[in-house]
Subunit: 221 residues, 2 copies
């Protein structure tokens, strides 16, 4: 549909402008996506305090409220809330223009890494680039093994897949190998990490991945 | 935004036409919504075979694939698949026009109850009426207690809230009372039912609710 194509073209133009601002400030940007309740905020609570010398900030996307921003504020890092119901029609995703509207509130020059926590949704966020360096998605084992097949664009769009809530595996009818088989079928070779935000199991790999990305992309050209 | 309002107006017009067709055929229609992986299909597998004399059919909405329709086909009830990526731009919800496009494939005169399983998404499906009698949402306890506050429109739009996966409560940090307090704050008085599609606990209430709705609405005027 032409209207959709135009909207995506405009989005890409603005995403490119965001990318320029991020580059000038030397900030690496991660777009973190998942279904509602998959554990994005808890995973950030786990690893952001352990990033050492990396100066990190968070842009919190939600339809309404500031619950996640309030939780992260306890980490003593800069957190900016972006609500899609105020002026953006209650959109189910963040797009480049919404992120751009928040840039003045972000002290980019004081950051090495910006994590954008997208609206909980497995469909639309994957269609809108925001000027990020990497897209990371969280998939909880409570959601079932079939999700890559049902929401293929999201899994294809992601550079890293975090498989969360593995502490619940003993209580679920969930076959990790089956999930990984489906994941590989829609996005061959995409890296994944198994972890539990609740217990902390496996989260070091995610922390180290973030730190390495921030260091690599933030290096002077 | 005017474009959004126009789209919603057009949707309501088509929803009204759907409603007329459902009424003429004497079919009660339930729009079943939830986040991805909350257990909509499993809840249908549990109760649809136990509806006695109620003749039930299912319209399965998914972005891609027919995994859920394949699962339900084993119940020997009519199941029609509707994919939003084929001709509908990969939409993250069902709207009245998509449902209308599927009506010729549904033998409405042979049904008392049609359950429309929407795309897994806690935002957009709530904005689009499809001509249904009732909107029912499923919320899994694995998603956390805060979801009514973060996705208020979905919780407000629903006539019944099914709280699923309660068999996992012993393994979660989840406070049912806190969830119900949040639910009551965004949709005062909305009925809810606690259940586990996996164990079957509490699903009789959902079965009886469906049977009563089909009998009441399907009665001759």
């Amino acid at each position: 549909m032409r209207i959709v194509e135009d909207a995506l073209d405009a989005n890409n133009t603005i995403a490119h402008a965001n990318r320029g601002d991020f580059d000038r400030a030397g900030v690496t940007v991660v777009n973190l996506m998942s279904a509602p309740g998959a554990g994005k905020t808890t995973l950030l609570e786990r690893v952001l305090p352990e990033l050492g010398h990396v100066r990190v900030g968070v842009l919190e996307g939600d339809v309404a409220g500031s619950l996640d921003a309030d939780r992260l504020a306890g980490l003593h890092i800069p957190v900016t809330q972006l609500n899609t119901d105020a002026g953006f029609g209650g959109e189910c995703h963040l797009d480049a223009n919404m992120v751009r509207s928040a840039l003045p509130a972000l002290a980019l020059d004081d950051l090495d890494l910006l994590v954008v926590e997208n609206v909980g949704n497995l469909v639309c966020p994957a269609e809108f680039r925001i000027g990020e360096d990497a897209r990371v998605m969280v998939c909880s084992v409570t959601e079932g093994e079939d999700k890559p097949l049902k929401y293929p664009l999201m899994f294809r769009a992601s550079e890293l897949v975090l498989v969360n809530k593995v502490d619940l595996l003993p209580h679920l009818d969930y076959d990790v190998e089956k999930f990984l088989y489906h994941l590989e079928s829609v996005h061959p070779g995409v890296p994944h990490m198994l972890m539990s935000a609740r217990t902390g199991e496996g989260t070091e790999a995610w922390r180290d991945w973030l730190a390495a990305l921030a260091t690599r992309a933030g290096a002077p050209a």
